[in-house]
């Protein structure tokens, strides 16, 4: 009798067979990590501790401009062929040749890749970095003996997948469900107690809830309204969830806003602080977010997930500005010279220009829309003429990217260290992606951000991070409100060993894009 774990890594209306690990849009989201493993997984919950997968270790060169991976010995592809450095080398070159496969754009920063021997691959950077490895090590190595003959690897559906991960065999595939089973040659077979994973097609949160409430799902992550009532209460013994903080939700105020009044206000730190103080973060978390997000009152936006990096100095000096206090916000504005000049009931800038802006939020992102509505309530109360606008997601992105927005809600992807989120303020990144659209630059900050990965010394990094936090807390270029939850629910009726708040070993979600899910899979065991 096979041990089958039911999981929902992705919502879709129908599955279609695509086992190409470079495909970003496929509905089959159990290809990466479970079918094709990465070189190294950096465990975010453990401060970026490397968990070696296909690589057994890596070494930087002295000047930090190259890194050499030692590929694990004795790893076999699911068809029995040996996996070695040749495959890794082949894969690096494959994505170099086909930029559409290079989804993390690593070849922008790579100079070359060298095959040292059957067990060693050396990756040469364009410049020194200790951060680039987070992207480089995520490479999903594919078998050279198969992919070398593939004509167009971009549109290749890889119908008979040969992989290196724990589950490589597609036992059953229908548009409504597929079952992915054990790799007969898995290198870590001893730690794998799951024979198969079953992936039912589920299209909406509602349907997830229906299935989950019936206890049909073992490992999934979905927004479930009133989770205590709708899910946990159905089987309090086994229905569990854990929502660690993830991506950082912020408000972007466009420092280059086209409206004079807005620009003047946004460029005034007092205004930004008053803005921040008008945010009822708790209500946002509780009402818009159903209590699931993690409130973020770090003036730098650091977030509880990186609390280990926290600089208490920043809290002490600027902590007041992330406390909800509309009177204080109003007083601050008043003191800075904001008055209602034109008598419309809202404040104008010290130079007498009207402040009026829409906070844009993508239509359909309900929790955000509600968050913005709460934000506007607070802002209006403080005398700021803000309103909500809900363009389509595409339009929202567009406005962010071309800088035509005034103010927006946005989220920053967080990485292994806080560096990733903060790096969006690096002047070189300005306006290159929707994450770096504030228009704030600071030379000292650039230096610090650059320096962070130039060193492998932990204390030095710590110092740099402290100063970064001070700068960001002081200037408050963006207004953090909360960290989105990592959506993660599980059911212990049939399995145990799930990560949880008590057993917080790694980010626990089953979603594609969470490399740590491989660690999670290996720790799940059937209940005896």
């Amino acid at each position: 009798e096979d041990v089958i774990l039911t999981a929902v890594p992705h919502q879709t209306t129908a599955f279609a067979e695509v086992y190409n690990p470079f495909n970003q849009t496929s509905d089959v989201r159990s290809v990466r990590d479970f079918m094709f493993e990465q070189l190294v997984v950096f465990n975010r919950m453990q401060g970026g501790k490397p968990e070696y997968r296909l690589a057994e270790s890596f070494d930087y060169s002295e000047d930090l401009t190259s890194v050499t991976f030692k590929i694990r010995d004795g790893v076999k592809w699911s068809d029995g062929e040996t996996l070695d450095a040749n495959d890794v080398y082949f894969t690096f070159n494959l994505i170099k040749e086909h930029p559409a496969l290079d989804t993390r754009a690593i070849w922008d920063k790579l100079d070359s890749v060298e095959l040292i021997d059957d067990h060693h691959v050396k990756v040469n950077y364009k410049e020194a970095s200790t951060g680039l490895i987070f992207d480089v090590a995520r490479l999903n190595t594919v078998p050279e003996h198969i992919w070398a003959d593939v004509e167009d690897p971009v549109s290749f559906t890889n119908p008979n997948p040969v992989g290196s991960g724990p589950l490589t065999e597609i036992r059953r595939f229908t548009p409504q469900e597929y079952v992915q089973c054990r790799n007969p040659h898995y290198f870590q077979a001893d730690d794998l107690d799951i024979d198969c994973m079953r992936f039912p097609q589920i299209a909406t949160n509602d349907q997830t809830l229906t299935a989950a409430a019936k206890g049909e799902l073992d490992w999934f992550g979905s927004f479930l309204p009133d989770i205590e009532k709708t899910y946990v209460a159905k089987d309090p013994e086994n229905h569990k969830y854990w929502f660690p903080g993830g991506s950082l939700v912020i408000f972007n105020l466009n420092l280059n806003a086209s409206e004079e009044g807005n620009k003047e206000a946004f460029n005034d730190v007092n205004f930004r602080r008053a803005f921040s103080m008008s945010m009822d973060r708790q209500a946002m978390v509780d009402i818009a977010g159903y209590g699931y997000p993690t409130i973020n009152k770090y003036p730098s936006g650091l977030g509880r997930g990186y609390h280990a990096w926290n600089n208490p100095e920043a809290d002490a000096q600027y902590g007041q500005y992330t406390e909800y206090n509309v009177e204080a916000a109003a007083a601050l504005l008043d003191g800075a010279g904001y008055k209602d000049v034109d008598g419309d009931g809202f404040l104008d800038t010290p130079s007498g220009k009207p402040i009026q802006f829409d906070l844009i939020v993508p239509n359909g992102w309900t929790d955000w829309v509600n968050t913005v509505q709460l934000a506007v309530e607070g802002l209006n109360e403080a005398g700021i003429n803000a309103s909500v606008s809900t363009p389509e997601a595409a339009n929202w992105t567009q406005q962010l990217l071309d800088g035509s927005y005034q103010a927006a809600i946005n989220a920053l992807v967080v990485g292994v260290t806080p560096h990733m989120a903060f790096d969006t303020f690096h002047s070189s990144k300005a306006m290159t992606s929707r994450f770096s659209v504030t228009g704030y630059t600071n030379e000292r900050l650039d230096e610090l951000l650059d320096g962070f990965f130039k060193t492998a010394d932990a204390d030095e990094q710590r110092e740099i991070m402290d100063e970064i936090q001070m700068i960001l807390s002081k200037d408050m270029p963006h207004i953090p409100v909360f960290n989105n939850p990592y959506w993660y629910q599980y059911n212990t009726a049939r399995f145990e060993g799930f990560f949880s708040a008590e057993n917080d070993y790694a980010v626990p979600t089953v979603h594609d894009g969470n490399p740590e899910r491989i660690l999670h899979l290996l720790s799940i065991k059937p209940k005896s």
């Binding site: 509602d206 479930l224 363009p391």
Partner: protein, 304 residues
């Protein structure tokens, strides 16, 4: 107007429909007077069951359902009536013009109408609504209005064609009435019931479609409307968490206004369509005949 009401009152269904519609219109007009909250503001704890303070409970976002219901009526009626107006004006114009002038004009307009009829409506609406982006209720009304006139145009055209063959139109031409006047003075008054039918039908269709679009998340989430109430209820899984009132209110509203308008339409149709007009009398006649047959038979039975 008075005539219209007295006609409506002749038919029970129409009267019932009329009352419902009037009730909603009153609700929409009196919205500021009969609500004490801001429909878009948090005024209660999330998902409070109906109580004296919040007679229809509160939404997940802590808004007052009753207030949203009442203000939503405004939106729905506004959208329904404006789209209905657009549909009716375009449909009537095209239909009457095609039917009256005939020939190349008819062929052209009829062709356009037929094309508009074969282009799948709902999908097109969805695509348009999604692509236009911020589709506030008024925008939706315009989109629906501009894409849904074909049916009305077709019906109006065929009715105009019948009328056109009626001799009074030919007589008007004979005395030298200009076309414009013939259409407006001679034809349109005779088309009123069809136009009314088309209008009311479009209003129902629009209200339903708008709610559907909003339910699918293609509307403006900030608008206070029944469709958004549904959408919000759906995204907060109101039913699953037991907050049935959040879902119930918009469902009830859409269903009753739909029924009200349709009954009105049905009744007006029964009144204006001579074949359907006499249904009440028919029922009475059937009863009268039955009664006669019985007395006849019993009289005969007694006699023999």
């Amino acid at each position: 107007m008075i005539k219209f009401f007295s006609i409506v009152m002749r038919n029970k269904k129409a009267t019932a429909g009329m009352l419902i519609v009037l009730a909603y219109i009153a609700l929409a007009l009196a919205a500021p007077l009969i609500t004490s909250h801001d429909p878009a503001k948090r005024v209660a704890r999330p998902h409070q069951a109906p109580s004296v303070e919040h007679v229809m409970g509160s939404t997940r976002m802590g808004r007052d359902v009753y207030t949203q219901f009442v203000w939503g009526t405004r939106t729905s009626l506004m959208v329904g009536f404006s789209a209905g107006l657009i549909v009716t004006v375009i449909g009537t114009l095209i239909g009457v013009t095609a039917g009256y002038f005939g020939g190349v004009i008819d062929e052209t307009l009829n062709f356009i109408t037929n094309i508009a009829l074969v282009i799948p409506q709902l999908p097109l609406l969805l695509v348009l609504a999604a692509f236009i982006g911020k589709s506030d209720p008024f925008m939706i009304a315009v989109i629906i209005g501009l894409t849904s006139w074909a049916w009305g145009a077709r019906v109006t055209r065929s009715q105009t064609l019948t009328l056109r063959r009626r001799e009074f139109v030919e007589a008007s031409e004979q005395i030298g009435e200009p076309s414009r006047r013939i259409i407006c003075i001679e034809l349109i008054p005779n088309l009123l019931s069809i136009i009314g039918f088309n209008f009311i039908g479009s209003v129902v269709y629009t209200i339903i479609t708008q709610a559907t679009l909003e339910f699918l998340g293609l509307g403006d989430p900030l608008a206070v409307s029944w469709g958004n109430m549904l959408y919000n209820a759906q995204t907060s899984s109101a039913i699953t968490v037991g907050a049935w009132w959040e879902m119930f209110a918009p469902c009830f509203a859409i269903v009753t206004i739909g029924i009200g308008l349709s009954l009105l339409n049905f009744g007006v149709d029964e009144i204006s369509n001579p074949r359907l007009r006499t249904l009440g009398a028919i029922n009475k006649a059937v009863k009268a005949q039955k009664k006669f047959d019985q007395t006849y038979k019993s009289a005969k039975g007694a006699a023999s």
